[in-house]
Amino acid sequence: MGKSSKDKRDLYYRKAKEQGFRARSAFKLLQLDEQFHFLDNVTRVVDLCAAPGSWSQVLSRRLFEDDPENAASKRIVAVDLQPMFPIDHVITIQADITHPKTLNKIMDLFEGEKADFVCSDGAPDVTGLHDLDEYVQQQLILSALQLTTCLLREGGVFVAKIFRGRDIDMLYSQLGYLFERVVCAKPRSSRGTSLESFVVCLGYKPPTNWKPHLDVNMSVEDFFQGCEIGRLTLDDKLPEYHEEARSIADFILCGGLDSFDSDATY
């Protein structure tokens, strides 16, 4: 067996250790925020696919440590398939976010209040079947989006990890129906050699003619029926092959030029 070419240690890995983050991923969120400032003034957030929890750590520091006021009204909920070690001020749930029951659980924790920010850094088990991996990844995003439509306040922000594969332009197009601006952003701490990027969706604006309605018996596709991003039409004949709407999102590299390039090795 050949050895892989990936270099294991890089500067971000060491930096994460120094700053007490559980994963180098923390810098991705920090660099995205540096660009978009979406964490300014947020009080209630959901961190999906959060284990081991470095994003939650960032959120906890931002919401509680940096600004201890109004702690009672603030909330961070973190969800993952994997168990997570506790983080101060973070409520953790071990569950599958594609399961409709999970979304109900999260909704309950918000007691009818809206969230300002939803993020998902989810990545499925990679099987090596590129199309399946990509599909499952997009389903994770759609599940996160499902929660978002039920929970996010108008004008709120949604951030999710994407892999820029074959059908990514279809996802951009879908997100375009729900947000004012959709950007594809790549933090410098994310490897240039990987296809990983993040969609940053700014200014949530739900379509006026569609009411999200969570039902444990509905799949993601069912859920978005009626909203323009759903694929199922009311007439149930499976449609013939057709090109679906695609659009290309703006691309932004985040993290100043002085920040470190994660592909560089020293």
């Binding site: 050949g2 050895k3 892989s4 070419s5 990936k6 270099d7 398939l81 599958d96 594609t98 399961h99 409709p100 499925p124 088990d125 099987t127 090596g128 079947l129 590129h130 199309d131 399946l132 599909y135 499952v136 389903q139 820029r164 594969g165 074959r166 059908d167 990514i168 332009d169 951009y172 594809c184 790549k186 240039g192 296809l195 444990v216 018996n217 509905m218 799949s219 993601v220 596709e221 759903g230 694929r231 199922l232 149930d236 004949k237 499976l238 449609p239 013939e240 092959y241 057709h242 695609r246 290309i248 691309f251 932004i252 590299l253 030029l257 470190f260 390039d261 592909d263 560089a264 090795t265």
Partner: protein, 1000 residues
Amino acid sequence: MVLKARELSHYGPSICVKFHGDYVVAGYGVFVQVYEVLSGKLVNQSRVFHNNKVHGLCVENGLFLAYGARSVSVVPWQAILSSKDNSKLEKMCPEWVTSAEFSFDGSAVYLLTSYNKVLCCDLELEVLETRVVYGERAILYSGTITVQSAEKVHINAGTVMDGVFIWDLFSEKNLHHFTGHEGSIFYVTASKNGRFVASCSDDRSIKLWDLESGSLLSTGWGHTARIWNLQFFDNDTKLISASEDCTCRVWEVSQLTGQLTQTDVHEIHLSKNVWGLDVDSRRMIAATSGNDGRIKLTDLRLRTRAGDESQAFSIDDISRCRIDFAANEIVKGFFWLHFGLVVLTSEGQVLKYSDQNSVWSSIFQNQKFKSFSSTTGVQKLNLVVFSNGSGDVLIVKFSQDGTQVLNTLEIAVTELSKVTTCLVESFDGELFIALQSPNPRDALVCVKIDSAPLKLTEKYHLTRPANFNASSILYHDNFLLFGSKFSTLAIFNLRESETSAHVLNRLLPGDTITSVRFVEKSSNDRSLFSVTDREGFYCFVSIDLNNGDSDIVLENKISKGFLEGAFYDPSGDYITYGFKSNYFVMFNETRQFEIMSELCGGSHRQWLFLPNYDPNEFVFVYVKASRINIRKLHSSFVPQTLRDGLHGREIRDLTLRPASYNTRTHVFCSGAEDTTIKLNRIKESGEARTIWTFRKHTSGLQRCKFVSDQYLISSAAREELYLWKLCTDFKSNPYMSIIAVLPTSTKLPDLRIMDFDVKFIENSQDFILVTVYSDSAIKLWHFEHASQKFALIAIGKYETCCLLNVALIPLKETLLLLISPSDGYLVAWDVTKCLNINLRNGKLQDWKPNFSLMPILPDYATRVLVHRAGVKSLQVKSANGSSCLIYTGGDDNAVAISEFAVEEDELSIKGQVLSSDTAGAASTITAVNLLNGGKGLITASVDQRLRYYDVTKNQLTLQDVFYTTNADTGCLDVVSTATGSLLLIGGVGFSAWSLRDVKK
């Protein structure tokens, strides 16, 4: 002008495969391929989907059902057999289709989606009804549908977190919830008899469940990696599993207890992902397919099909044929002839075993050969040769059927103090026997014997070279070649046997040469030999036998184990054999699959491997546990592969040799994440075939590029960079070998060489090389052809980012160095002075070494921000003497044209962006390539699209977009052909396209 692009061929993952009568049906990308099982002939390839890959299929009642991703299609089976394109019937499902089956009476189709929902459709795929279990709608990785009867249909659903759900389609109720596995369930299937469910997961185990009681019956452990597929076969008495560990395993399913017992392991694919799996229970063959694009057939009865494949005899067994043995008499040697086996025992008794009637008989006894004996022979002449330590040689010649000894000859070679090695070779009825003593000063005594009457005709005393201990022999054209220890080859001219041998030292990295074979003679009178050594290396060496001048045209290593020999089979495949731990293994090195293996206990045994008179049939004889074992390998009754793939993992780079190889045939190299480099041949029809798989790199490939028709350079992590030379002098194959290795900066380098570029010095084979590294280092080298060495001639650095591409661009009297780092800039240097190099009219004239300090690159001359993220690919076109155009594709989805020019005064360099398309793709643009002498630009991006731009006015005018079926599209290369160009695109697999310009 418009570009006409046509996909010629596609090689890539095959996710499903199924037997149907005398056919094997496989999903191959967007296509379905139908092969005849017995002949392996491709009956038809039919496109069924526009863009999605076929993940599963079934054939029933003359209808064919295919599904993959969100696509489904029902097609008449006849149309699959005859029509090239059935994609107009493709329908889209709103969710991913995990599995699909016809209903019991065939009038409906069930589609199980990834949200555990079943759409019941008619044959036109109109949804009649939707069925689900209330509240259980989480995502599935796997699932199957078991249609037992019109009323009984079960859904076997494998979830991400919750184990397996079995539910009833019509009552919409969960029947069972199996929760014993850890992690995602990757496959679940039910036996036809309705008794068992088998599932596998991330945890590497297979679990068998009782469908009646819902209890776990047993767990099958054995696979060393994730398991992807499971199928019951042979009336549900057996289960077969395919795994990421590259094997498929057969399990006996106890009908009483539900115990799983592993009975067989088959090595099937080289790369880890094996997806498709099916068994033809009538013929007992398995079909598998995977990420490597290979469709493989495995004979599950390889060892019992003819019935005589495996035989074993103890001395007791043999004595039952009324043969007397002394106490402690054991087998000392054997040889396989046309009729069967000839054996010599420790008492000097010679036995023969007739393969026709399975009878052992004693021929004679000769006390001289009691001890220190060796047994060998010549199959063609139907004779065996015994020798002993004192130099006695006994030749026994048999009749064709073995019933009679026709002739014997005994010779005594007295000039050697002691004989430890006896090597035998023959040519045209003549027999050569070489005897060697342990004393290096003794001559190598060789006798020539006429085999017809068995008469000694000549005796040679060959002077042994220093450090020489012959281990293999070859006669060719009046020369005797001996392979020896210390990886030495000695060539003796028998016409002038007194003169000393030509000696080739250190031919291979290993120690003992195990075989030498003649391959062919070139038109310029050089002979090509294949040489193997025990450590697993092999090489092809081109030798002028008259003066010993030699050239290693290929050197390689088998993937694991010891190598005892290798040869070309009649179809031109290179076959190796040797030992891998306790196994003897025969391997098709060209097509990279194991032909057979035998658990023999290892290489220290007495063993013999010979053809069985048919070039496709072999015998392996060995002694294990005091038994003589005879393992025969008959040629397979079905082809072993229906389609050969290429790499099992992502292709990182591919490069076409600029000049064609033969008429309408080209060679290209591909380098992949699996660390191998493959040298391949491709016809202009698109048909490709791998010739050699090189395992020189130890890490994933970064780049490989032909820098001329003869030279290729490859680079990878750990600062690996090799210069290869291609040899096209021989008819058998093109050959390729490393002629120089770039020195590394430390003993344990861990930098990646991201890219390199080469400029030849005019009228010489010397060149300047530049390499760029992942830590932003830049190094310039001079390659001297005479010494075949690289010398570092300058170093430099750019900021602190990874450097992705580099080019050396001669402009008039200036040599420009251009890099693209991951920050989106194009950065240029004038390196003429620093390198002490002279140019005239854009040609490198000469280079003078700088004997003082190592030059360090000054600050860059200029840089231009072209992209918002890393520049992934770069192509250069020199526009006129003083300027050049740079075409780039970036991680920011953009394509751009920039210009760099040397100002009149030759003192400064200016760069600017001329044109850019910031929405050049939906994803990273990984490759750009100029076409038509620079009039067109083709780009490839990870969104699996190729875009063709007109760039005549230095503006990017999009002309056309094509879809490619290769995921992770990462590289492309183009070569001109008589009718246009041949384009290769690499990613997961590769595809070949023909490009033609047509007038509007």
